[in-house]
């Protein structure tokens, strides 16, 4: 079935666990944009939501750090963080092992994936789901791109992963939605936490809206690190979403640089051109 939804969103833990540091109106405007995306996924009658995240040493460490990983289990668990710290109760989240296996086999024709029959979600997935599917009852398939431990996944391979995932989604009978989560510029978990390069973010999002492949892939890690911090390496997840549908342009539903949340809070979606039979 052609891909039914492709979006992007932020995942910093502060969005949930430092909520009270931002005035209600401002944070609710962001939360609402995220909730609208959840509604859009349900309106598209998606059967499954693939979340392409940039996880933070919850499942993957430098003993076996895959460039790409995908979950292949009937259920997952999260959050791995302390529940009180994360302010989200630990629970099981449904998966779809059979669909995972079919998607992974197809993705592996083009990009090389580590598959995972077990996965503990960290804030990279739990925070987006908190708004998209607040009861955590919608079937999810986690995917990951290494944005944390160098050598990082090259940008053009992140784009290729999006392409491969699109070919896989188009090949299965299920209706697949995909959301990429990450920061744009940010300096998470450092003394610079709260620093945001808004001009850099807006330039990146302009490239993403145009879905300008060459411009999206032209960043070097050196420049990104200088201008957008180590958190900026997570642009890989948004670039993978761009690779899902090179024919589509993007729309930014929300952008607000909120220092207490330590990230430019973003919600956006591709305007998919295919007609989708409901």
């Amino acid at each position: 079935m052609p891909l039914v939804f492709a979006g992007i969103g932020s995942h910093a833990p502060g969005i949930v666990n430092r909520a009270e540091r931002v005035e209600e109106e401002r944070r609710e405007a962001f939360y609402d944009a995220y909730r609208r995306m959840g509604q859009a996924i349900r309106d598209a009658k998606a059967d499954v939501l693939i979340v392409i995240a940039a996880e933070h040493f919850a499942n993957f460490f430098m003993n076996n750090m895959p460039a790409f990983a995908m979950g292949m289990a009937d259920y997952y668990e999260g959050p791995i963080e302390d529940e009180a710290w994360m302010r989200i109760a630990r629970r099981k989240i449904p998966g779809n092992r059979d669909l995972s296996e079919r998607l992974i086999a197809r993705v592996m024709e083009e990009t090389d994936v580590s598959y995972c029959e077990e996965w503990k979600f960290d804030h990279g997935i739990m925070v987006p789901l908190n708004f998209l599917t607040p009861d955590y009852d919608f079937p999810v398939i986690p995917a990951n791109i290494n944005c944390q431990g160098p050598p990082l996944t090259p940008l053009h391979r992140a784009w290729a992963f999006g392409q491969a995932l699109r070919h896989a989604a188009d090949a299965v009978p299920e209706r697949v939605a995909v959301v990429g989560t990450g920061g744009i510029s940010h300096w998470p978990a450092t003394p610079n936490s709260g620093k945001i390069n808004e001009a850099w973010d807006r330039d990146f999002l302009a490239r993403w809206q145009k879905n300008d492949k060459a411009a999206l892939l032209s960043y070097t890690d050196t420049d990104t690190y200088r201008d957008a911090g180590q958190g900026g390496f997570e642009i890989r997840t948004f670039i993978a979403i761009a690779g899902l549908a090179p024919e589509a342009s993007g729309e930014i539903w929300h952008y607000d640089a909120i220092p207490p949340f330590a990230v430019g809070c973003t919600v956006g979606a591709l305007t998919l051109k295919q007609t989708i039979a409901a």
Partner: protein
Amino acid sequence: MSLYYLQKLLYNLNREPALQARFKADRASVLADYDLTAEELKALTDPDVGLLYVLGVNGQLLMHYAALVGQSWDEYIAAMRAGVKQYGPVRAGIYAMVDE
């Protein structure tokens, strides 16, 4: 290579409640399983979150260790700043503080 094992300990601690319990009860017995330098051992034993930060521990691991040893978010940020002041700039990894 030692930074690898230092971070591996923190990775395992973050994932495993049973190891957290063992670590709280008998820190030394847990530390014996990892290939660590004297400075790394000291930083873990004190615990000195600022020194761990300067040694190059990734913030995505360190923030959970700080919470485990009882630091609030603001105390964690302050500990890293104090570490840089006392021991100098971050020596390895990608989580250095930048000038503001």
